[in-house]
């Protein structure tokens, strides 16, 4: 199965061309074929889904990353700095029990 996936990955250029063609065809079909819904003003605009999907993606990434850099991101040990006493205590009390649902090294 791994070999089959590698075969596909090697042909990623062909696959992306196929996918882009399908996407273009989809938009054209949405423009040409009326779907019968008219509950929102945009229901009747062909290809609106494509536009909304693309804009959503960019919006989510830009807004979230901006929030992250401006405000929310912290270093990974942010919460550990002040709880060393607590960690030492728990590490000591847990040390004699080997973990059997933890992690296994790579082979």
């Amino acid at each position: 199965m791994g070999a089959f996936l590698e075969y596909l990955v090697k042909r990623s250029r062909l696959l992306s061309v196929l996918m882009l063609t399908f996407m273009a065809a989809l938009v054209v079909a949405d423009v040409l074929i009326p779907t019968g819904y008219g509950r929102f003003p945009w229901d009747t605009i062909g290809g609106f889904g494509a536009l909304y999907g693309f804009v959503s993606c960019v919006l989510i990434v830009v807004v979230s990353k901006a929030l992250g850099y401006a405000w929310l991101y912290r270093s990974e040990d942010y919460y550990d700095k002040r709880t060393t006493a607590d960690s030492e205590f728990s590490a000591k009390s847990l040390a004699d029990e080997p973990s059997d649902n933890g992690t296994r090294g790579t082979s």
């Binding site: 494509a50 693309f54 993606c57 807004v63 991101y73 933890g102």
Partner: protein, 568 residues
């Protein structure tokens, strides 16, 4: 006063009771025998749940309260079905684990979740609610790392607070209505809001959600499957039962759906990313509860059902990666699809399901909630939910698998996950595809009759365009989307940093003020003591001894005086 009248319909054994009693035998068994026993127990549990028919199966009076631990109707059965199904899947996934505490905790947890959905009264509900918390925390602690130990305690504290809110609400509700029956809470006032708040904490509604994304990524690999399935979905069930049509929940649900998406962009730990998407997906269900129409309530219940299954596939896939590589961060993973191809493919089935691709389960349930918003002409809610839909595919369907399984080679050479993990993922993935292809099966046991066609041309066009062009955006922005070795602040900052810092500050400044007051008071007291010592001390005026001769003289004077008065 203890009148105990049992009204148990013959032949119905409470599935929770069965599972909890069955759990007691786990420590007595070992190795292969224990594995067989656990599978048998979970399958019998599944069977008893699926055999349950609507009706009141158990009720009795206790200390003057009417308790109904066995009320089943179509709403409770949908949830009980999927809870019991995930118990079997979780059992298979954790078959290789040798930790009795974890197995017992998982079963008591699952039994309590089913206990909550079969509870016909608020007292039974509360008891199982708290039991769920007490059992589930062990699935976090048994990871046995300092982080999981601390996260488990925070989890416990938050849920203890929610339990107190709920209990206070129940007590008020009982004192005002005189009834304990758990149906729609159709009164205003503090009782309504206290119970709602208690439920909202477990549903992880922002800003009360941080316990989830704090604790779940620290849980054991196998325990996370039960955690991701049970707590939030029992909360969705109680909201569906108690608070349908509460307008506030529509907006909270839509905000929830987007909150999870924003934080998932920032997440680096794969299970934390998935945990944020639990919040996002539960947002759809909460919004559905708030809309309160038949299609919306059906949509919420259906989405809970499909969500439990696809989220289990995703958590199992991420868990398998962590189990085999020892790494859990996007920045440390990559390029392992060659070595774990089956894990990768099964994960992708879960990813397509959560993203609501046609022919996968999410499509037939998520579009139902979105459709409910369209029917009600709620344009903003509809746009917010669609935005969150794009975000779901962006992270769970593209970012996480790309940077975990593909992307740059991390140098990791893991083996494929063990057969039992793959089998459990396979079963859950089967249901994801089965429900997507044949939604009538799921629709047949939703709370109300379903008059909805997911596969209309409009839905197909809309979803496919939305998702595929989100994918286009992903590949254009891919340079900015990899994980970053950072953590993001969330509302748990309040009780992890702000409150400890405040109490520390209070202790320090309060200590100084207290010392000042103390020295002022002591100064006064010292003054009094010195004054007393001056008069009454060894050198004081009042401590001098008086000569006895003068005493005798005065006695003689008084006696002479009284004699004189007598003769007058």
């Amino acid at each position: 006063m203890t009148e105990t009248v049992a009204l148990t319909s013959a032949g119905w054994l409470h599935p929770s009771l069965l599972l909890i009693l069955g759990t007691l035998f786990i420590p007595l068994l070992r190795d292969r025998l224990q594995q067989v026993y656990r599978i048998a127990l979970s399958v019998i549990f599944l069977w008893t749940v699926w055999q349950t028919v609507p009706g009141v199966h158990a009720s009795f009076g206790f200390l003057g309260l009417d308790l109904v631990p066995g009320r089943a109707d179509r709403l409770s059965l949908v949830f009980a079905y999927v809870f019991s199904l995930i118990t079997v899947i979780g059992t298979i996934y954790s078959l290789h684990v040798k930790d009795n505490v974890q197995h017992m905790a998982a079963y008591v947890y699952a039994a309590s979740a089913v206990g909550v959905v079969f509870a016909g009264d608020l007292v039974t509900l509360y008891v199982f609610w708290e039991l769920m918390m007490l059992a589930s925390v062990w699935l976090i602690w048994r990871r046995r790392t300092p982080e999981s130990y601390a996260a488990g305690f925070r989890y416990l504290l938050v849920h203890a607070v929610s339990g107190v809110l709920l209990l206070a609400g129940i007590a008020l509700y009982y004192s005002q209505t005189g009834s304990l029956a758990f149906n729609q809470i159709d009164m205003g006032g503090p009782a309504f809001y206290l119970i709602l708040l208690g439920f909202m904490v477990n549903a992880a509604v922002p800003p009360l959600h941080a316990w989830l994304t704090d604790a779940y990524p620290e849980a054991t690999v196998t325990g996370a499957i039960f955690l991701s399935a049970l707590t939030t979905k029992t909360a969705v069930y109680v909201l569906l039962r108690g608070f349908p049509g509460t307008e506030l929940l529509v907006w909270l649900g839509a905000i929830m759906a987007l909150w999870g998406v924003v934080y998932a962009v920032l997440a680096n730990d794969i299970r934390r990313l998935l945990a944020y998407h639990i919040i996002s997906q539960v947002g759809y269900m909460v919004a559905g509860v708030g809309m309160g129409t038949a299609i919306a309530l059906n949509g919420s219940a259906a989405h809970a059902f499909t969500h439990i299954l696809y989220k289990a596939v995703l958590f199992m896939g991420a868990g398998a990666v962590i189990h085999m590589t020892g790494k859990s961060k996007l920045t440390e993973l990559g390029g392992i699809y060659r070595y774990m191809p089956y894990t990768f493919l099964l994960y992708m089935i879960g990813a397509f399901s959560i993203s609501a691709f046609p022919l996968f389960s999410g499509f037939v349930s998520k579009t139902m909630v979105v459709e409910a918003a369209a029917v009600d002409h709620r344009a903003w809610i509809w746009l917010m939910l669609s935005l969150a839909s794009a975000g779901t595919f962006l992270h769970t369907g593209l970012k996480l698998p790309y940077f975990t399984f593909m992307g740059k080679d991390s140098g990791l050479r893991p083996k494929e996950a063990p057969w039992n993990m793959l089998l459990a993922m396979g079963i859950a993935a089967f249901f994801c595809v089965f429900i997507g292809v044949y939604p009538a099966w799921l629709y047949s046991f939703l709370p109300s009759p379903v008059d909805y066609d997911a596969y209309s041309l409009s839905h197909l066009f809309w979803e496919l365009q939305l998702l595929l062009f989100t994918g286009l955006g992903f590949f254009l922005l891919i340079k900015h989307l990899g994980g970053e070795p950072k953590i993001s602040l969330d509302t748990d900052w309040l009780y992890r940093r702000a409150l400890p810092a405040t109490t520390g500050w209070l202790r320090r400044t309060g200590g100084t003020a207290w010392n000042a007051i103390l020295s002022l008071l002591l100064g006064g007291i010292h003054g009094v003591i010195h004054g007393l010592a001056r008069h009454h001390g060894p050198q004081g005026v009042l401590a001098r001894t008086w000569p006895t001769g003068s005493m005798v003289l005065w006695v003689a004077v008084i006696l002479a005086g009284s004699l004189l008065i007598y003769y007058l």
